[in-house]
């Protein structure tokens, strides 16, 4: 057994036909060429930079180095292994660098926001509002409690509206499969493309201008739920689609009604996926700024009541404060941005952790329930 495995590795052969064949992607000679050309390109550019070459600055250096690196490694592989391999090599290097180019900003953003935001981050940031903050106050005075509480309330209300609606819509699309399912799917796709500022304008026109309401936290959460609904629906639909048809058929064959099949079989099976969908949706909605500019009004003082009076929200708080002339306000804005980013990251990690579990995962709560029923 061990012998065949080793041989398989050597000949790049995969035993089973159904498995996708994967070829050993990196050979030692490739690595040598890569390192060699990186170093020689660096040396060459070091020599010629700022004299013959057009660019300047650190960014320019990297760009020129990269171009030289591509050219040198391509030439080297072509000399060693021919034209076809050289093309393959070039494509591989380009794909690798393209992918890293997509990742690098994330790292830079996270580090930058942490670096800017941690100065004014103290426990009081979560308990104080801006009531006593004046133009000359230090950045460690006052906090963003009013914005954090506003955001939690607005996103909470938006979830209360959008999550049940989104999941029932997904049930309609995937379980009921009525006559409207096809056009509905198109409209949900279209709705997920509604620009966030348009959602804000809509609530401003319909809720504030037409119905005569004020700018409140509730208006903000209505705007957020317009954005939240299609996200939940789409991801929930994908999750429901993953439930094996055999389970539904078994339930129906045992005499279960459609409602029982959905409520007792389909939804519990996909529960972890649905929770992930909701949390990811919350993580997206929590950072929305544009619709809130138009709807919540913004405030510097804590307002517990989302139904009346202007409220603040964390992204809107950051957006306003970053444009202040005072350094202290800008520092507070960065702290707000840091808190926002941490919230998003935490939600994301929770969603991933839950989503990684299969439907047969039995958590602490579930085991307790099963034990009570005497099943486990």
């Amino acid at each position: 057994m061990a012998l065949t495995l080793r041989r398989n590795k050597k000949t790049n052969d995969v035993g089973s036909i159904d498995e996708k064949i994967r070829i050993k992607s990196v050979e030692s000679i490739d690595v040598t060429v890569l390192i060699g050309s990186a170093i020689s390109a660096f040396a060459l550019v070091q020599l010629l930079y700022e004299t013959f070459l057009p660019l300047s600055g650190a960014l320019g250096f990297i760009v020129v180095w990269y171009v030289f690196f591509l050219a040198i490694s391509w030439t080297a592989v072509r000399e060693l292994r021919g034209n076809v391999r050289a093309k393959d090599h070039l494509a591989r290097v380009l794909v690798w660098s393209g992918a890293s180019l997509a990742i690098v900003p994330l790292v830079l953003i996270v580090l930058y926001v942490i670096g800017k935001g941690y100065h004014a981050l103290r426990p009081q940031f979560f308990t104080e509002d801006q009531r006593y903050v004046g133009a000359l106050s230090d950045s460690t005075e006052g906090g963003g409690a009013h914005a954090i509480i506003g955001t939690i309330q607005q996103v909470g209300i938006a979830s209360l509206i959008a999550v049940p609606l989104g999941i029932t819509t997904a049930v309609y699309l995937n379980e009921v499969k009525g006559r409207l399912a096809k056009p509905l799917r198109t409209v949900v796709d279209a709705m997920s493309a509604v620009p966030s500022i348009v959602a804000g304008l809509f609530i401003y026109a319909a809720w504030i201008l037409a119905l005569g309401n004020q700018q409140t936290g509730l208006a903000g959460s209505l705007a957020l739920s317009v954005l939240f609904l299609p996200t939940v629906t789409r991801t929930a639909e994908v999750v429901l689609r993953l439930v094996p048809g055999g389970l539904r058929e078994a339930s129906l064959a045992l005499g279960g009604t459609e409602w029982r099949t959905t409520s007792r079989v389909v939804l519990p099976t996909s529960r972890s996926g649905l929770v992930t969908a909701v949390i990811l949706g919350v993580a997206r909605v929590i950072g929305e700024t544009a619709p809130l500019i138009l709807t919540v009004g913004g405030a510097f003082i804590l307002n517990w009541n989302p139904l009346s009076g202007k409220q603040d929200s964390l992204p809107f708080f950051v957006f306003r404060l970053i444009r202040f002339p005072q350094e202290s306000q800008i520092a507070r804005a960065w702290t707000g941005a840091l808190v926002l980013m941490i919230l998003v990251l935490v939600l994301f990690v929770i969603a991933r952790a839950i989503g990684g579990r299969g439907p047969d995962h039995i958590g602490r709560f579930k085991r307790w329930r099963l034990q009570r029923k005497g099943l486990a």
Binding site: S56, P105, T169, I197, A206, F319, F348
Partner: protein
């Protein structure tokens, strides 16, 4: 077979010879009615969005008439002329700059995930791309404004100095080419927006590339093709619908991006070819910036602009999802 419902029979390969008669209980009928109702709410909301924007914007449209499309100034509150003739081209050019950068990077990232990456890295990368999509646009905007822009304008300057003969890269001579000309431009805004577009494009392309038929893939390898050969002759042709559709979905997102653009640009109302020079605009940023200082006519005019943005993104997105869905259902993979 006959005991299953009609809906479940559809899932089977064999068609039932006799269509089973389904008698639903009251509970089931109520369940279907409730699900249908909540599904219809989506239709109602979409209709209301269009309806309310039109209803509120119609006053402004009556005042401006066709000028709404041809006029480039925006002064509805002083009784002046207003229109989207400058704002719309700026919106489109920011989106195009974003796509120009985002599409190659997304194709590379999607190819990396499906073809090149080791299995472990693949899961990690998929998660990272999802995370990129979850980072608020406000944070992209802040980072772009404070970190990226000062570094990016050296590139702008280089482009203007060396490729200035291309109309897009030309900068007004009066200013010379000091670095002060380059911040808050269409280019900078486009670069930031491209970061937000990349995850959207990548996830669509990744899904479609992953569906390239394994038979053809292995056939190409068996014929002695390199990995690039497989990508070029199998994966990319089969994934063409995904590339086009994903790019268009990204375009829809780029057109509607608000906060990051609002933070970066300094509003300009004279359409110009140069993408490097200071001053740009977008419909969404216009609404965000002008909203608080507008009176009744101004709000109405912003509603009309919002309607225009809504209609444009709707069209782009519907076209995009039809392209993606077609390539998903496999019709584009016929040889």
């Amino acid at each position: 077979m006959t005991s299953t419902t009609r809906e479940n029979a559809v899932n089977h390969v064999d068609e039932p010879r006799v269509t089973p008669v389904v008698r639903r209980s009251k509970v089931d009928r109520a369940y279907r009615a409730i699900a249908t109702m909540s599904g219809s709410i989506v239709f109602v909301v979409m209709a209301l969005i269009g309806g309310f924007l039109l209803y509120r914007g119609i006053d402004a449209l009556r005042i401006s008439g066709w000028g709404f499309i041809t006029e480039s100034q925006w002064a509805p509150d002083m009784g002046g002329a207003f229109g989207i003739a400058a704002v719309l081209p700026y919106t489109v050019s920011i989106a195009l700059v974003a796509l120009f950068l985002a599409v190659p990077i997304s194709v590379a990232t999607a190819l990396f995930i499906t073809e090149y990456a080791p299995r472990r890295l693949r899961r990690f990368l998929t998660a990272t791309i999802d995370l990129l999509a979850a980072v608020p646009s406000l944070i992209y905007g802040l980072w772009g404004l404070f970190y990226l822009q000062p570094r990016l304008i050296t590139l702008s300057k280089w482009l203007a100095d060396n490729l200035g003969f291309i109309p897009f890269f030309k900068v007004n001579e009066d200013f010379g080419t000091s670095l002060g000309v380059f911040p808050s431009s269409t280019f900078v805004a486009g670069v930031i927006v491209s970061l937000m577009v990349i995850p959207i494009c990548t996830s669509v392309m990744r899904e479609v590339f992953g569906q390239a038929p394994p038979g053809e893939r292995e056939g190409a390898m068996a014929l002695g093709g390199t990995r690039w050969g497989v990508v070029r002759d199998v994966v990319l042709p089969f994934g063409r619908g995904g590339i086009i559709g994903g790019s268009m979905l990204g375009l829809g997102r780029a057109l509607g991006e608000t906060i990051a653009v609002t933070l970066i640009i300094s509003p300009s109302f004279d359409a110009k070819w140069s993408i490097l020079e200071q001053g740009s605009n977008s419909i969404a940023a216009l609404i965000a910036l002008k909203f608080s200082e507008s009176t009744e006519t101004g709000i109405s005019a912003l509603m009309a602009a919002g309607l225009a943005l809504f209609v444009i993104t709707l069209l782009v997105n519907t076209a995009a999802s039809s392209v993606v869905n077609r390539s998903r259902s496999g019709s584009a993979t016929e040889i």
